[in-house]
């Protein structure tokens, strides 16, 4: 039982971080219909940038973290401005392909600037573990869960109450009608990329404070992708619900299956889930039922 509790808590908290990153995907998908395939690489570069700030430049956390978020927002602005804006009005597939190009570019830049393949962040959270029932959990996990929940609440409020959030949802419904109201839609796209990158940065820091910085972080992006497919590409709620489900399946399933099968089986579980979901509910748990082709 203790073992199960351990797997479950780890799964849910990691899943929440996936969900956080997935929210960035949903945000861009909703406002512009572009599938952002750069997520994993963004998580990677922001984690390395955090390493650069906290370890290489030696900044304290209170200074380093805001700089990381600022950098992320800047990257989001730049990607939208340079790679995507010139393609507005072109077939959506070109835009999606461009995000893939950006992904490879970022990956190249990362191995150019930080040739080391592995690094560890300094401890951001106190290191004595917490006992939850019989399970022992290190504080990183709990903080990751708390930060994710806080960000969910803030984002939900933003989309429900703030003018910009409401307009972002409107853009998702009908771009041209938003333009007809005299609203600069390109600016809204730009903002949603900035937001998505900030989320990827927070997600990256949380992931790498748990597991260190490796190229494996790129897979986090893929897992966020499986979260949105399970939850529905256009549903924030879907991402929030599906994140912990994927995390749970990965950790509980992986925890029990690894001794029986082979190491690394946990990595494929999210993708098996994607395949099953695509068969049964192609639009995801909470997605709108309509025909979308990527």
């Amino acid at each position: 039982m203790a073992e199960f509790g351990q797997f479950a808590i780890t799964g849910v908290t990691v899943g929440m971080v996936y969900a956080l990153i997935a929210l960035g995907f949903v945000l861009i998908w909703k406002s512009s219909g572009v599938a952002n395939l750069t997520l994993g690489q963004l998580v990677l570069v922001f984690s390395w940038f955090t390493y650069g700030m906290l370890v290489q430049a030696g900044f304290p956390v209170w200074l380093g973290m805001p700089l990381v978020v600022l950098f992320a927002v800047g990257v989001g602005w730049l990607v939208e401005r340079i790679a995507l804006r010139p393609l507005i009005g072109q077939p959506i597939l070109s835009l999606i392909t461009v995000t893939l190009g950006v992904a490879f570019f970022i990956e190249g830049m990362v191995s150019f600037i930080w040739p080391k393949s592995v690094a560890a962040l300094p401890r951001l959270f106190p290191d004595e573990p917490v006992h939850v029932g019989a399970a022992v959990v290190s504080q990183e996990y709990l903080w990751a869960a708390v930060i994710s929940v806080v960000l969910f609440v803030l984002l939900t409020l933003f989309f429900k109450r703030h003018r910009m959030g409401i307009v972002m949802r409107a853009v998702a419904d009908d771009q041209m009608a938003v333009q007809a109201c005299g609203i600069p839609v390109a600016q809204i796209f730009s903002r949603s990329w900035m937001f998505a990158c900030a989320l990827a940065a927070v997600g990256g820091v949380l992931m790498s404070s748990i597991g260190g910085i490796t190229f494996g972080l790129v897979e986090t992006g893929l897992k966020a992708f499986s979260v949105v497919i399970l939850g529905g590409l256009d549903s924030f709620l879907g991402a929030i619900v599906a994140g912990p489900i994927i995390g749970l399946a990965e950790n509980v399933g992986g925890g029990y299956l690894t001794p029986l099968t082979w190491p690394g089986v946990r990595e494929i579980i999210p993708f098996v889930i994607i395949v099953i979901v695509m068969f049964i509910r192609p639009h995801g748990l909470f997605g709108e039922r309509r025909i979308e082709r990527i």
Binding site: V167, R169, A177, C181, I183
Partner: protein, 263 residues
């Protein structure tokens, strides 16, 4: 005052759809742009509001002036800032937003919060049924309510020139009367110019001061609303009435078509 002189529009650089359209909307005036499907009415509106671009269209000749300022080929955002707001054809509400959120999107570009709140109350006064539905998802409203919402959303932008594309489309006659009543009232109360695209000629001329008739990308006839209402061609081809004002009897129609006078 809005003035179009000799405006030509092409899509994709090759398909010419407007062949020199000239028209004028004076301040505070309601002007109707009438014509059949494909005449170029919606394209004319989009040429003014700057929405042509997202459809790969472009004004290739002539000029569009708003209060002495040239706005030819400006983008929708800049035109919107000048107070020219278009409500698109076909009840395009933001389906997943509720009524009030839809209205607030209309006011997004305005900075003065208290004025926005006043205008929200004003729209609810114009359309009391929207107030009752303020928390309802717009996608589930009835057709008439959605059209009210689209007009209300455009009003929320505090327009100087309101351009409406077929607000009567697919609505019951009662609903059409109500919406048109509000459009006239708003225009009179705020001295807002209205450029109205319609196929429902009778209702449009009911509130308009002046009207233009378009055909095949050209203005073929214009005049005051009274003049148009009594014009034989308009009556026959757009209102389905014969010269004597009675409904046309198809028994008397010969197998040849009467030519329109302007062709």
């Amino acid at each position: 005052m809005l003035e179009l002189s000799n405006v030509e529009v092409s899509y994709l650089g090759v398909i010419r759809v407007l062949h020199g359209v000239s028209l004028r909307v004076d301040d505070g005036q309601i002007v109707a742009l009438l014509g059949a499907n494909g005449a170029g009415k919606s394209t004319t509106l989009k040429a003014i509001s700057g929405l042509l671009r997202s459809e790969e269209g472009e004004v290739t000749g002539g000029s569009i002036e708003w209060r002495g300022q040239k706005i030819t080929n400006r983008n929708a955002e800049e035109v919107g800032k000048l107070g020219i707001i278009q409500a698109l054809e076909g009840r395009r509400v933001f389906e997943h937003l509720n009524t009030e959120e839809n209205l607030l999107v209309g006011a997004y570009q305005r900075r003065d919060r208290s004025a926005v709140r006043d205008d929200l109350e004003m729209v609810y006064q114009y359309f009391p049924s929207l107030k009752e539905l303020r928390r309802n998802t717009a996608g589930y409203l009835s057709g008439g309510e959605q059209q009210m919402l689209v007009v209300g959303r455009a009003i929320m932008a505090s327009p100087q020139l309101l351009m409406l594309d077929e607000p009567s489309l697919g609505l019951a006659p009662m609903m059409v009367e109500e919406i048109y009543g509000i459009i006239r009232r708003f225009s009179r109360e705020h001295e807002t110019s209205v450029l109205l695209v319609e196929q429902n000629v009778r209702v449009a001329l009911g509130i308009a001061d002046y009207g233009y008739v378009m055909e095949n990308g050209r203005i073929v006839l214009d005049g005051s609303a009274d003049f148009l209402k009594h014009n034989e061609d308009v009556r026959e081809f757009y209102m389905g009435l014969s010269a004597t004002g009675t409904r046309k009897s198809y028994r008397e129609v010969k197998h040849y078509k009467r030519r329109k006078r302007w062709l």
